[in-house]
């Protein structure tokens, strides 16, 4: 479904990704693990065409995303829930969600999608008219996820959705990610939170200093000595 091949990415003179390749197949949950600064967010931004690779390609359902402007990516059914949530803080919960459904198809189904999401996140229904800047971190993350789903994507990418949340919220967010996947949306998840994610994912990749150093199924990862040592602290 998504095929990333041989990405090299630089910010100015600083190269941060080297020959990054990975693949996400329809229906999967794929996790991209890596420490701070490994290049995880840059990888997702390159997939979304916000950052252009110097070498390499991003192909989604047969379309070369690296060749189109970033605002067109969503039209092909790929949503990106960015790191740090990046909500529109002065807009209400509902306005944020509406802005998530500007593509033609999503717009025509807007009302229905809103109802569906309010059923999943009853807490958001109670806060429809509240500016998102005044919500708690966990609530903001729910809005961010819901906003991403408003475009009715085929694949959704989450960039560290658990970052900075209380443990109970983290559990809830990962439940939502699994549920989204059960609804038929393919998931590419970027995380540092290894415990939760390896148990729920189909496959995983490790990114270290801008290079993919390991790939395998979630189970293989849980039994891998290097992963145990570096990421699970066992």
């Amino acid at each position: 479904m998504l095929k990333v091949e041989g990405l090299n990415v630089s910010y100015g003179d600083l190269q941060v990704l080297w020959d990054v390749s990975f693949e996400v197949k329809e229906g999967e949950i794929v996790v991209l693990l890596g420490a701070n600064g490994a290049g995880k967010s840059t990888t997702l931004k390159t997939v979304s065409s916000l950052v252009k690779p110097t070498v390499g390609s991003v192909e989604f359902l047969g379309v070369r995303l690296d060749r189109i402007p970033s605002h067109e990516v969503i039209n092909y059914g790929l949503a990106h829930v960015p790191e740090g949530r990046r909500l529109f803080p002065d807009m209400t919960v509902e306005e944020n969600l509406i802005v998530g459904s500007l593509t033609r198809e999503a717009k025509s189904k807007r009302k229905k999608t809103l109802e569906w999401l309010y059923d999943i996140f009853p807490r958001l229904r109670e806060r429809i008219k509240q500016p998102t800047g005044t919500l708690s971190g966990g609530e903001q993350q729910m809005v961010a996820i819901a906003r991403g789903l408003m475009s009715l994507p085929k694949l959704i990418m989450f960039d560290e959705p658990s970052l900075g949340l209380a443990p109970i919220m983290v559990t809830e967010i990962f439940k939502v990610v699994e549920m989204v996947n059960r609804e038929g949306v393919t998931v590419l998840l970027v995380e540092q939170n290894v415990h939760h994610t390896l148990a729920m994912c189909d496959r995983a990749y490790v990114l270290e200093n801008g290079r993919i150093t390991l790939s395998g199924t979630g189970e293989e990862f849980l039994n891998n000595d290097h992963i145990k040592e570096a990421y699970l602290g066992i």
Binding site: S48, L50, H71, I74, R86, F88, D90, I98, L102, K107
Partner: protein, 291 residues
């Protein structure tokens, strides 16, 4: 008491026009992240359009709104598309360079006006230019009252557009987080072009509405760019509701300054208020608003 009320009325009426000037500048500030230092010059161009249509075709100044506003919308669109957006694509160029570009645009517009109309003072005299009506002993300038009414109409329309339409929401989204807006499928380059057009169209309305009670010469843009700048800062850089308060504050400050301190101090009072707000309410009136 009567003097006080008279001053208040004059200040509010003038403040309405200032709000209109500040709203456009604020929208541009919010979306582009730059101060448009050609804002007053956009207004000047609109005033010359109104003058020319009045002088050569005998059109009523208010009627010329249907020409001056779309013309300035188009001018703003072209300037953003061909002069400002290309600057943004060059990564090494700082936003400051876009501001410098607006300064250049301001000078070019001023000199074009001087070339066509010379430096002479011009004015548009209509039957209502100096007429007034009285309510309880307080005089209301007919032209300023009409201008105020139309300003209210435009402001309400603008807010309706920003809050209720997808295009308006997209403009607000870009001004709050342009990268996130791109991820939502919003072409921020296109939004910038449209926003510059709207900002120019709004200030065009202010210019056209002001002309029947004002005068016109090529350098009139500068003082209005400064006023727009003050209003935008008072309003809290990018807050549209704040811009309305900023405009009213400046109008009232000038009006009370002229009445109680002296005509010559009108502009000074505005600047003093500006400095006081900067010192004591940093962030301007934005902190009292949400939109």
């Amino acid at each position: 008491m009567e003097v006080f009320l008279q001053t208040l009325v004059a200040g509010v009426l003038k403040g309405g026009l200032y709000a209109l000037i500040g709203l456009g500048m604020t929208l541009i500030m919010g979306v582009m992240g730059i101060i448009n230092l050609a804002h007053g010059q956009f207004m000047m161009v609109a005033m010359y359009i109104t003058y020319a249509l009045f002088h050569f075709f005998g059109l009523d100044p208010y009627t010329t709104l249907i020409i001056s506003m779309p013309s300035l919308f188009l001018l703003g669109v072209l300037i953003q598309k061909y002069l400002l957006n290309p600057l943004m694509k060059v990564e090494s160029i700082l936003p400051e360079n876009q501001v410098l570009m607006t300064v250049g645009i301001a000078m070019v517009l001023t000199e074009i006006a001087r070339f066509i109309f010379s430096s002479n003072y011009l004015s548009v005299r209509t039957s209502y230019s100096s007429s007034a009506f009285y309510v309880g002993g307080i005089s209301f300038s007919v032209a300023l009252t009409v201008a105020f009414g139309f300003t209210c109409f435009l402001t309400i329309s603008l807010f309706w557009f920003l809050i209720k339409t997808d295009l308006g929401r997209s403009i607000r989204a870009v001004s709050q987080d342009s990268e996130a807006a791109e991820l939502m499928g919003i072409d921020s380059g296109r939004i910038k072009v449209i926003t510059m057009g709207i900002g120019a169209g709004l200030v065009a309305a202010a210019g056209t509405l002001l002309l029947p009670i004002y005068y016109l010469f090529p350098d009139i843009g500068g003082p209005f760019t400064r006023k727009a700048f003050i209003i935008t800062i008072l309003g809290g850089l990018g807050s549209t509701v704040g811009a309305i308060f900023g405009g009213l504050t400046l109008g009232l400050a000038e009006s009370f300054g002229a009445t109680y301190i002296g005509m010559d101090f009108e502009d000074l009072v505005g600047l003093v208020i500006f400095l006081l707000v900067l010192l004591f309410i940093p962030g301007g009136f934005r902190r009292f608003t949400k939109v």
